[in-house]
Symmetry: C2
Subunit: 576 residues, 2 copies
């Protein structure tokens, strides 16, 4: 219950003429304005902090010298990648000290269009976690993609003035920007002078200048210190990402120094629920940064004040009078064990100790639960005729979303590719699941390691068609059919049997279950995946889900076929 | 002429597909994002920078390794204090590298109300210099003041959505804020979540927390490192001021470190034209900071990016693609000699080499030139009856706006104060000049040093009544009459003669003359003032103009009498 003190009452409490509603006594406060740790009490009233110093409260909690940091802010994430509903995720992230996220809901929009954003906004209203929205800029991600819905500047105009909307989401179609394509310019102009997120892996030199001139001011795809520094110098905030598959932090943290720290921000981008529960969310970025030698107060500023500045969230990101009472109480500044979390003055205690309310099923409209339309599929659709002995192979890079285009000989039988030798790649297929067109793209994948089975998912960025990989057609077909019948999700099949399925009926992306159950399912499925040979340096589900994303080099697969990102065109999987 | 390239054309230039309009070749660019000095070309098109790197232009200027810094931003200034019209001042400040100012036009508003702001806005439109407005929050400055006009929340509402309006100006009535007075709260609520400037010298502890809770986020009155650090920690941006009378920089610069630098900003507040022309404007702050040991790139960031962030000016404060082409070309990073200045891509060359256009007189409406209404004044109005041997004396503190309340014996004759001994203070009088009421306040002043004469001014913050000081009534009366007849200004009289007058007919605050003439007048008048005994550590006109300002400790004089700022009430000048 927000007691809703008025400004006069808050001033009275700050001035000490009246007891504050709640005082956190004896805190070691992380001051992000000055990068100091300072002793003091924190006085709260309603949803804000009213005073720092020596205060008395109607209620008091003695922190006994415990560290108090501002609530963490994730500068860029896709809520849908956690596979639970936002109202459910709220509990998970708050327990990890994240009190605000800047979300780009482009997954659900690729499936459902503007209605998907409205659903996320409704969910956001029910969440204690503050969820802000960057409007998806690239649905479809590029002209080469075939999502379930489109979202253009006409749709954006309908939402641009909504409270939670901060700006325009990651402009993944960086080629369109650099070329100055007219449909791209229309979107950019709508947000001119505002917040526009970038996504331009490897972009450099004059092309990067062109991307900056367009008004794009953040980047979360920098892959090296050199790339990071070039982008910082041109005015981009660098969002240092530690996701489930994309793990940039250990590299980029080497580029942070006292001169550029204010322009460095943390994000997770795409991070699975199990990783959040096991390792953490933004607290994990902080912990890793401190381990790598960043001063704890600076690391916390990168997770709070810097993000708030980057997105113009002037009411948060610091423990100071007038700021939102978003406070994380930490046991120390090394392990960053979280003892308490306050969001807008409300207490949320400890990891996994807080669960979301009931009534989740009822909140999800029927049309959102019925989005997988595969059409009829048959085994022969998976046949890969080889026009020559060599193939273009999508090769994974562990710890990165990037792939490499390898060229080598593969096994064939009756002119068709067959996964026979240990050195052979496996098949990868992307099937249209939005319009039941029967469209299917086929390719070869190396480094995934699966044998005697198949894994399929309706999470496949950004169009979220059905993606399936395996060493045999029987299991691949079975996996696809399983997802077609359960409304989407992730499944693993082996030797003609479905081993386990995680249904994700909400747009084929999110579960209706409580996060604890989803976590257990994911842990079991990960163990099953490992048992089929997927190596420990590959996160199978996240990795699979990015293989259709045509904006990350070098080579991808869509329902139209194999796509060379560098050449910006479709290519054959076999070479003559 | 802004060639008005569209976004597509700018992207084409950035991408190198088309020559840029203008390229500054071989610059040593001060990168405020990373605090580095980096070699490169700066490509411009229209009013913005399109690229940094290796560029070709339709026109090219070889900087031959010269340093290029972003245009400087003054975070807080009163344009009127320069005594020239904003359209005229534009030339002066641009030549000093200042390309943007955040102005609080509360001087003219104290005289003319909302029409005064509209006049400043009209002037701003004609200026190449970018002038942003913080709406005056305290007109009258406190309930104790008697200005010519009032400006309340109803007036503010009419202007709050204007393009140039950034927020609410310095809330000098800090007592009203800390008490939570209802008229104060109305104003604060109108700007809630926005930019609100502070002004709270010496405010500390719980009272300072109350001031912060009210949403006030800047402070330019910190007088010591200790005060600065307390305010930084509570979330205030610290504006480090170097004005004509208030010189805080040498002290405060000792409090700047790499942890808090981003929250430190430069301003001038009140700086006279002659000081700007002789020593500089924000360039002077930078030069002094570097002399005191601040890294040049950091000092430049404090003058540019930090100020832009503080006031939410996202389009400026850095040399980067997409940013306004506000560029200062410097000979070195020690003396900061300015060789060239670009404002919005337009070149402005060198100090004093650029004068404003003609037609200034025509631009100033008649009502604005006729604001001094003194009524009839006579010598006996200056009589100071002494009820006892001791007096409360306003004592100046060199280099500061603060005054000290001294108590000691003074000379009398027939029961009236007389300035006879060398140790005697001089008389100070403040006369209503708005309503011809004949109201007059009398006090005694020590440290000003004037003998055989009087100085009067219609600049007397913030009510801008007529203030006059001197050692004899004849010259004081003459000085007041002189200003009454010329529409306001500054005058010096001695031995019954007017030695020199600088007429300031625009609201009694600003001249209609070109800045060069005003400067010459000021230099001559300063020499005359010195010849009357005013010591070299006192800037006579600025010092005089602050003696009526009831918000700066310890003791002031208004047309109602002697005011004790600490006790917050009027007191007698004599003690029984």
């Amino acid at each position: 219950v927000d007691l809703g003190y008025n400004l006069k009452e808050k001033i009275d409490m700050a001035a000490g003429r009246r007891k504050s509603e709640l005082v956190l006594k004896n805190a070691s406060i992380v001051n992000v304005f000055t990068q100091e740790i300072l002793k003091g009490d924190i006085a709260l009233a309603g949803d804000i902090i009213v005073g720092i110093g020596n205060y008395e409260g109607e209620k008091e909690i003695d922190l006994k010298g415990g560290f108090a940091a501002p609530g963490f802010i994730d500068g860029h994430m896709h809520l849908e990648s956690t596979m639970v509903l936002p109202s459910e995720l709220s509990a998970v992230l708050l327990a990890r000290g994240t009190t605000t996220v800047v979300a780009d809901p482009h997954e659900i929009v690729n499936v459902c269009g503007i209605d998907g954003i409205r659903f996320i906004m409704d969910q956001a209203k029910k969440s204690l976690l503050d969820i802000f929205i960057m409007l998806p800029s690239c649905v479809p991600a590029t002209p080469h993609d075939s999502p379930g819905a489109r979202f253009d500047e006409t749709d954006m105009e309908k939402l641009v003035c909504e409270d939670r909307v901060l700006g325009l989401g990651e402009f993944m179609d960086f080629k369109g920007v650099v070329e100055g394509r007219s449909d791209v310019l229309k979107k950019l102009k709508l947000f001119r002078g505002g917040k526009i997120d970038g996504h331009a892996p490897g972009l450099s030199g004059k092309a990067l200048n062109a991307y900056a001139v367009a008004g794009i001011r953040t980047e979360h795809e920098a892959g090296s210190v050199e790339e990071m520094l070039e982008k910082l110098r041109l005015g981009f905030y660098i969002l240092i990402r530690e996701g489930s598959a994309a793990k940039d932090l250990k590299t980029l943290v080497n580029g942070v120094n006292s001169g550029n720290m204010r322009r460095c921000v943390f994000c997770t981008d795409d991070r699975h629920l199990d990783d959040i529960l096991a390792e953490g969310h933004i607290d994990n970025n902080i912990r890793m940064a401190v381990e790598a030698g960043i001063d704890p107060a600076a690391a916390i500023a990168m997770a709070t004040l810097n993000t708030a500045e980057c997105y113009g969230l002037n009411d948060r990101g610091a423990i100071a009078p007038g700021y939102l009472a978003d406070i994380v109480v930490l046991e120390d500044l090394k392990n960053f064990k979280i003892n308490m979390v306050f969001k807008s003055g409300k207490i949320t205690v400890g990891n996994k100790g807080w669960t979301a309310g009931s009534g989740r099923d009822a909140d999800v409209p029927e049309w959102l639960r019925n989005t997988v339309r595969l059409g009829s599929i048959s085994k022969d659709m998976l046949d890969m005729e080889m026009c020559g002995p060599e193939a273009n192979i999508i090769t994974l890079v562990p710890g990165s979303l990037a792939t490499v285009k390898a060229v080598r000989k593969v096994s064939t039988e009756n002119g068709l590719f067959i996964c026979k030798e240990k050195s052979d790649p496996v098949k990868l297929a992307v099937m249209d699941r939005h319009r039941a067109s029967g469209n299917i793209g086929l390719g070869l994948l190396d480094g995934f390691g699966i044998r005697c089975g198949a894994i399929a998912s309706t999470i496949s960025h950004d169009s979220h068609n059905l993606i399936v990989t395996g060493d045999n057609d029987t299991d691949m077909l079975l996996a696809a059919e399983e997802l077609g019948s359960c409304g989407g999700g992730i499944t693993i099949c082996s030797s003609g049997k479905v081993l386990k399925t995680l249904p994700l009926p909400v747009a084929g992306l999110m579960s209706l279950k409580p996060f604890m159950e989803v976590e257990q399912d994911l842990i079991q499925m990960l163990a099953i995946a490992r048992s089929l040979g997927i190596p420990y340096n590959i996160e199978p589900f996240m990795t699979l889900s990015f293989l259709a994303l045509t904006v990350i080099p070098e080579i991808r697969l869509t329902e139209k076929g194999l796509f060379d990102v560098i050449q910006d065109n479709y290519i054959n999987y076999c070479r003559t």
